[in-house]
Amino acid sequence: MARLTLWRWGALGLAGVYFLVPLAASVVFTVDVPGQGITFDAYTQLLSADGFGSSLLLSLELAAATIAVVLLLTVPATVALRLGAARLRPVVEVVCSLPLVVPPIAFVAGIVTVLKWGPDHLSRTPLFQTFVAIQNPDFPVVLVLAYVVLALPFVYRALDAGLAAVDVRTLVEAARSCGASWPQALIRAVLPNLRGALLNASFLTLALVLGEFTIARLLGFQPFAVWIYSVSGANAQLSVAVSVLSLLVTWLLLLALAGVGGRSRTTASRG
């Protein structure tokens, strides 16, 4: 038995070293600058760095818009699937899983092609203005559309799991019998019971949008992850410092999610 314990602690210890060393080394890298000794310049420079505030703000706005759109689309649909449209269930399931089969880089290749139709074929139609509007650099709606698609599989699963734990039909029937209208029954009876699943879905989406790099970079926008990349050339210490911070923020978010929704079983890897 002692051998087993030894083996277990060996495995856990090695894993601990592998997962903690890069984090510790990153912190050392940012504060121990060759030729300067210990300095916290990288962190103080951060707030005044060009583009830090605007790119972070853009990412947060995109995240808020993505969460709003994805919930508005999926909540009524998943509730309806439980209530009466059960035959559509396989269709919705497949539609919501398809984005998993298309890697983000392939997805953005398709988006680039579609966006080219604007100047190529549609320049004399009113649709052209739409194409211009969704690519407004101040608030690129096209990114929100893409992020909603990326988030769909995870949000759908989170909501579906949440709804499985609630007897929606009985809840709605009870609310309706008490004289509630359809929207009232949804908002006052069903949604409060889904609080955990909704928070879960929102946190996942937030983490996904904050870290998303591929689509934003190839479409030429500069939210937070792209900004970190762009400062790395000029100031290595600064870019690692931002990475450490963004990592901490994402972790706090996901730990909060783990606290709210139980253990997170997500596979939203964004390597």
Partner: protein, 299 residues
């Protein structure tokens, strides 16, 4: 709507009422389907269309052919595709092999806090990737990295910006992903199975070879395939870390899209994307049945 258009044969009062009650259900699903048709369907169709169309340089007339696909499977593109597959296969295999003992160590431990801690951390780490991960490793093992400097790794031939460097970085999110995938299966291994094996005189090794591993095989394979897909689709980490010193299909597509190579290569980028979708689709086609199979044993 149906209530106002009674059909002679089926328009009983009850039938109409049932149909009216079902109407909101259909309507609530429509926006979701319409949205995915536009935001996902259009780019997907555009990719397919572009991957199969070629433009005659002399006449400018477009036509459908498989020339782009043929191009995408030749020369540097083929090298990149194979490079991606090799990198994903190696890191997924290592991730699966290293994740299994780690998960087993956690599952058999009696400390609840350790279990919950490791599983929560795995959930976080499995979602960690992209640019910050790349920079954390550059700060640790890069040319000016802390470990590289202090341990003098450079003189020993260490290079983070290489195939094995990428494998080490990818394992950072692949191992936790494997732990999350395999833990429910390990928890599903009944104590009685081990006891039954022991009562029949089996050693620990025999128990693992003849009982545990066969039950775990679908989950292990499923985990491997999932890890493969995750590594295959990864772009941000590689782009921020190695630039183009390791040939990868995601980097090739990005280069072709941003016009870093010959003009007119966009459609080859689309063909490469199509190749990727095929590989990813194959991965899912293997993964889903395996998942279902392991669920049958471990329910």
């Amino acid at each position: 709507m149906t209530a106002t258009l009674p059909r002679a044969d089926t328009a009983t009062a009850a039938g109409a009422k049932r149909r009216r009650r079902r109407a909101p259900g259909w309507l609530a699903v429509v926006p979701l389907l319409a949205f995915t048709a536009i935001a996902f369907g259009l780019p997907a169709l555009a990719m397919l269309d572009g991957a199969f169309s070629v433009k005659d340089p002399a006449t400018g007339a477009g036509s459908y052919s498989t020339a782009n696909l043929t191009d995408s499977l030749q020369g540097a593109y083929l090298t990149a595709l194979l490079g991606s597959i090799k990198l994903s296969a190696v890191s997924a295999a290592l991730g699966a092999l290293l994740g299994l003992p780690l998960a087993q160590a956690v599952v058999t431990s009696r400390s609840r806090a350790l279990r919950e801690g490791v599983l929560t951390a795995s959930g976080v780490l499995a979602n960690f990737g992209g640019v910050p991960l790349a920079f954390a490793f550059v700060a640790t093992l890069g040319n000016a990295g802390v470990l590289t400097q202090h341990l003098g790794l450079k003189d020993k031939g260490w290079d983070l910006y290489s195939f094995w460097g990428l494998v080490i970085v990818y394992l950072y999110f692949l191992i936790p992903l494997m732990v999350l995938t395999i833990t429910p299966a390990l928890e599903g291994l009944r104590v009685q199975w081990r006891e039954a094996a022991q009562n029949n005189g089996a050693t620990g090794v025999q128990y693992w070879l003849h009982v545990a591993l066969p039950v775990l095989t679908p989950t292990l394979l499923g985990g491997f395939v999932l890890l493969f897909g995750s590594a295959f689709a990864a772009y941000a980490t590689a782009a921020a870390m190695v630039g183009s010193s390791v040939p990868l299909i995601t980097l090739q597509i990005a280069d072709a899209l941003s016009g870093n190579v010959l003009v007119g290569q966009e459609n080859v980028a689309l063909a490469l994307s199509f190749d990727m979708v095929l590989v990813a689709g194959l991965v899912m086609a293997v993964y889903l049945p395996l998942q279902r199979r392991s669920a049958r044993w471990l329910a």
